[in-house]
């Protein structure tokens, strides 16, 4: 006789509707489940609904991704590829010790160049002022002439210029060596001892070694 009112067996069946739909009931469970469904309209409807839903969901089509989406992705990929080609360094590079060292040395070099250039110009100007004929020199007010008398005129010997050039060469040599693995120890040395005379001597030694090897 068919029942429509829920009874104690309905609870057991309703708990297993998911497993039944997934086909995960054992043979014995399946037999009991089907035996109950044959007698209970309520559970049968519930099971039918569960099956309908599962079939309807499974029948939902896989929706095609619009071409515009893929075109936008390709466009962004191209843009990023272009950026990578023109600037192959990622953001982390700018925080590396190598970059910081190179930047510091570049600044040092530019400062040295400017300083030595100004000093060189000052020496040339003084030499020109002393050797030029009186009529070629602009008339100087007496106050300025007195001031110039009070300030010591810088005197640079040939040795000073050589020393300046040597320091400049040191800086340039270090910068060119920054990207090379072989210069790693030198760079670390500078950070460690703060660029004192020991470091300079290390660099000088390295440079002399380099120049002697290139001479041979």
């Amino acid at each position: 006789m068919e029942r429509s009112e829920p009874n104690s067996a309905c609870g057991w069946v309703l708990e297993r509707i998911e497993d039944a739909v997934d086909g995960e009931l054992s043979t014995i469970e399946r037999q009991a489940f089907e035996a109950h469904l044959s007698q209970c309209a309520g559970c049968r409807n519930e099971y039918a609904l569960a099956q309908d839903i599962q079939q309807a969901l499974a029948a939902l089509p896989e929706l095609p991704c619009p071409n515009e989406v893929m075109e936008r992705v390709r466009g962004r990929v191209c843009a990023q590829n272009h950026a990578v080609l023109t600037l192959p360094l990622n953001g982390r590079f700018w925080h590396t010790a190598w970059f910081q060292l190179a930047a510091a040395m570049l600044l040092l070099t530019s400062g040295l160049c400017t300083g030595y250039w100004l000093q060189y110009r000052s020496v040339e100007h003084t030499r020109f002022a002393r050797t030029a004929p009186a009529e070629a020199v602009m008339p100087v007010p007496s106050t300025e002439a007195q001031t110039e008398d009070r300030l010591p005129v810088p005197q640079y010997t040939r040795e000073d210029m050589k020393e300046a050039a040597r320091q400049l060469e040191l800086s340039l040599g270090l910068i060119s060596a920054v990207g090379k693995q072989s210069a790693a120890k030198v760079g670390e040395g500078i950070f460690r001892i703060g660029g004192d005379t020991t470091t300079i001597s290390v660099l000088e030694k390295a440079l002399n070694k380099k120049s002697s090897s290139s001479a041979t």
Binding site: A56, P66, E68, V77
Partner: protein, 177 residues
């Protein structure tokens, strides 16, 4: 230039699946397009680091998380503007669910009813139902995609199916009146 790229080839192979999943989870074409685009871009950026045997799982996982983010933003927006949420997932009143009177309706209407019922689930239930019933994933795969214990996946799926049954049973009755 990109046609020979292996990443693009994989993206082409899986893009429908990604978009489809996003569409069913979010219930919105525009949102699904945006999320699919972001997921594919993320895939391209991380292509080298993804295990070649798990491209699809990776895509589904990222898609599920991205959909979750969109749903969360919608809910926040709803709370801020108190718009009533008529277009928001999980907030659609039952009476707005399309009637589903048995097998008499055309396939299109049944599909609409199912999609509407799907929208009444909460986002985890819906994601799991979509993965299981539409994308035909196993419990283990769903567990891996969503980083959820297997038992929890089963519980969510059970509740999701129950909720859908309840909604569709009501609309069936409503349709029969």
């Amino acid at each position: 230039m990109l046609d020979g790229s292996p990443a693009i080839a994989v993206m082409e192979r899986h893009r429908n699946r990604v978009y489809s999943f996003c569409h069913y989870c979010l219930g919105s074409k525009e949102d699904a397009e945006d999320v699919a685009q972001e997921v594919l871009m993320r895939f391209w950026r991380n292509f080298e680091t993804i295990d070649p045997g798990h491209y699809e799982r990776w895509l589904m996982k990222v898609s599920a998380n991205a959909c979750k983010d969109v749903i969360r933003k919608r809910q926040t927006r709803r709370q801020v503007f108190d718009e009533g949420g008529h277009d928001l997932l999980g907030s659609r009143p039952d009476h707005q669910v399309t009637k589903w009177p048995g097998h008499q309706l055309a396939a299109r209407e049944i599909r609409q009813s199912i999609e509407a019922a799907l929208k009444t689930l909460n986002d985890t239930q819906r994601t799991i139902v979509v993965l299981r019933e539409i994308q035909q994933k196993s419990y283990t795969e769903i567990s891996e995609i969503l980083d959820l214990p297997l038992t929890q996946v089963k519980v969510y799926l059970h509740r999701g199916r129950q909720a859908m049954r309840a909604v569709l049973a009501r609309s069936r009755e409503y349709g029969e009146i």
